[in-house]
């Protein structure tokens, strides 16, 4: 599903974020991405949904070479990828329902479809009763669930989550992880970048360690260790 060949990324200010990364993530896999801050985890994810282009090497997502993708096709790539951030990135002046429906509306989905699918995904994430609230009235865990709802409403084949539990207490972190595992169970390829060692150890999934922009470890059913 995701392949990286000798991928390096050097930013215009000279910072080297990734160095010769080779990576294969299969369809439906659950992968933890760990490493110290600044190791290149976020950059690696941004390459996958083509917010960045590699300085050298190739990134292939679902058979599409992202550096050869024309600008007008980028939106369609992104519709097949859900993204969840630590800082939520919700629109505070819109309701929970509108925040989630937004992702469908921009794809020109028919109104009846938007209504039905938004309701369904909100119910799935236990947010049905909060659909008229604004993000400011929600707890951290609820906000993160709204983000997940927005990320999965287009039925993406890949879900990228960058520190999804970074702002949450341990109980809520576990709850979010269960939700992500459930989504992965339905066939969505899942990448979770995290610093939460307890969760990584508990889930027993594939763990890829990144240090200084290089892959330092890649273990199936691994534990939190990137040395």
């Amino acid at each position: 599903m995701i392949q990286m060949y000798n991928v390096s990324k050097v930013f215009s200010n000279g910072v080297e974020a990734l160095n010769n990364v080779n990576l294969h993530v299969g369809k439906g896999e659950f992968v933890f991405l760990i490493g110290p801050s600044g190791a290149g985890k976020t950059t690696l994810m941004r390459l996958i949904f083509r917010e960045e282009l590699p300085s050298s090497g190739h990134v292939i997502v679902d058979g599409r070479n992202i550096e050869r993708l024309s600008a007008c096709k980028v939106p369609y790539l992104r519709r097949s990828i859900g993204v969840v951030f630590q800082d939520f990135r919700l629109l505070d002046n819109r309701t929970v329902f509108e925040n989630v429906a937004f992702a469908l509306r921009v794809t020109n989905a028919p109104a009846a479809d938007v209504e039905k699918r938004t309701r369904r995904v909100l119910d799935m994430l236990g947010l049905g009763h909060k659909k008229s609230f604004t993000p400011l009235q929600l707890s951290g865990g609820e906000k993160q669930r709204v983000c997940i709802a927005r990320a999965v409403i287009n039925n993406p084949s890949i879900l990228l989550t960058d520190e999804p539990t970074g702002n949450l207490d341990p109980d809520m972190s576990l709850e979010i992880m269960d939700i992500l595992a459930e989504i992965n169970g339905k066939g969505t390829t899942l990448i979770v970048a995290t610093h939460n060692s307890q969760l990584v150890n508990k889930m027993g999934k594939r763990v890829i360690g990144l240090v200084n922009g290089e892959v330092s470890s890649d273990r199936p059913k691994g534990v939190y260790s990137y040395s």
């Binding site: 007008c72 939106p75 369609y76 992104r78 990135r89 992702a103 921009v106 794809t107 020109n108 028919p110």
Partner: protein
């Protein structure tokens, strides 16, 4: 089709909410556009009226050609031939020196005014064809044999024509400067709206909105600013102009003002089109940067 309508509704709602979010700034932009288009409209009306009056003036064009005192019979005959064959002349009348003196006497009211040696030259009064190129005709007539001078009236018409050309240039410059200013102000307003909504835009990109989908609300916002500005300018012009026409008619009835509906409808279309152009161009300028 219903998808299109629904999508358009979404874009218009987004545009209106963008307008509300920065209401004061948008109202300032709107006034600038309205003022620019009001001035453009006034200028177009002014030019239209000037041209109309000039046409009337031209149709009444008359020119007096004064002959040299030393002119002989042969020269006079060839001059008459020249006048008769010139396409710019409709009719002519020969004025003898005595007739000239008589008309001066009548004009001054000195019926018993006696002169020992009549200083007035012989002349031809020419009636010119409507629409003749006045300047070219004056140059041509000046070169005819036996012609000493042309009546001074020609200079006044020439000056009027030059004044009209000047007014046209100044007006065009004014409209150009103001148009550019409105364009910049619209672009700036949209740029600030884009900035205020940067989070929304980044999320839109994240979830796979196409560039044109993201741009459309801002284009609609610019279009609304241009159109509303044009509408305000039109209301002011169309309500103010008839008052001006009636006032001016009582003060200076010899000035003819265009007041037929056709001219004003034409003006309305021109201003609305300018408004749309300003709005769309203004927002396009600031939307170039929104890209994947």
């Amino acid at each position: 089709m219903t998808d299109r309508v629904q999508s358009l509704r979404f874009h218009v709602q987004e545009a209106l909410s963008g307008f509300r979010q920065a209401l004061v700034m948008n109202l300032a932009t709107l006034s600038t556009v309205a003022i620019t288009l009001f001035i453009l409209g006034s200028f177009l009306l002014f030019m239209r009226n000037m041209n109309e009056n000039l046409k009337v003036l031209r149709s009444q064009l008359q020119l007096t050609v004064y002959l040299k005192r030393s002119i002989d019979e042969a020269d006079r005959k060839s001059l008459v031939k020249q006048i008769e064959s010139d396409p710019g002349v409709v009719s002519y009348k020969f004025i003898t020196r005595d007739q000239a003196l008589q008309s001066v006497r009548e004009w001054m009211g000195w019926t018993d005014f006696e002169v020992r040696d009549n200083p007035l030259p012989e002349s031809f009064d020419l009636k010119l064809r409507d629409g003749v190129d006045f300047d070219a005709f004056v140059r041509r007539a000046g070169a005819w044999p036996g012609v000493d001078d042309l009546s001074v009236g020609e200079k006044e018409v020439g000056a009027l024509l030059k004044l009209l050309d000047l007014a046209r240039s100044v007006g065009l410059l004014l409209v150009l400067v103001l148009g550019t200013a409105s364009l910049m102000i619209i672009a700036n307003t949209i740029k600030l709206t884009v900035y205020a909504r940067r989070t929304e835009i980044s999320i839109m990109k994240l979830v796979g909105a196409t560039n044109w989908f993201i741009r459309t609300p801002f284009l609609i916002e610019g279009l609304l600013q241009g159109l509303t500005g044009a509408a305000i300018a039109l209301v002011l012009l169309l309500s103010g102009y008839p008052i001006l026409v009636s006032r001016l008619h009582s003060i200076a009835p010899f000035i003819r003002l265009v007041d037929e509906a056709g001219a004003l409808i034409g003006l309305s279309w021109q201003l609305l089109a300018m408004g749309i152009l300003l709005g769309l161009l203004g927002s396009l300028i600031s939307l170039r940067r929104i890209a994947v």
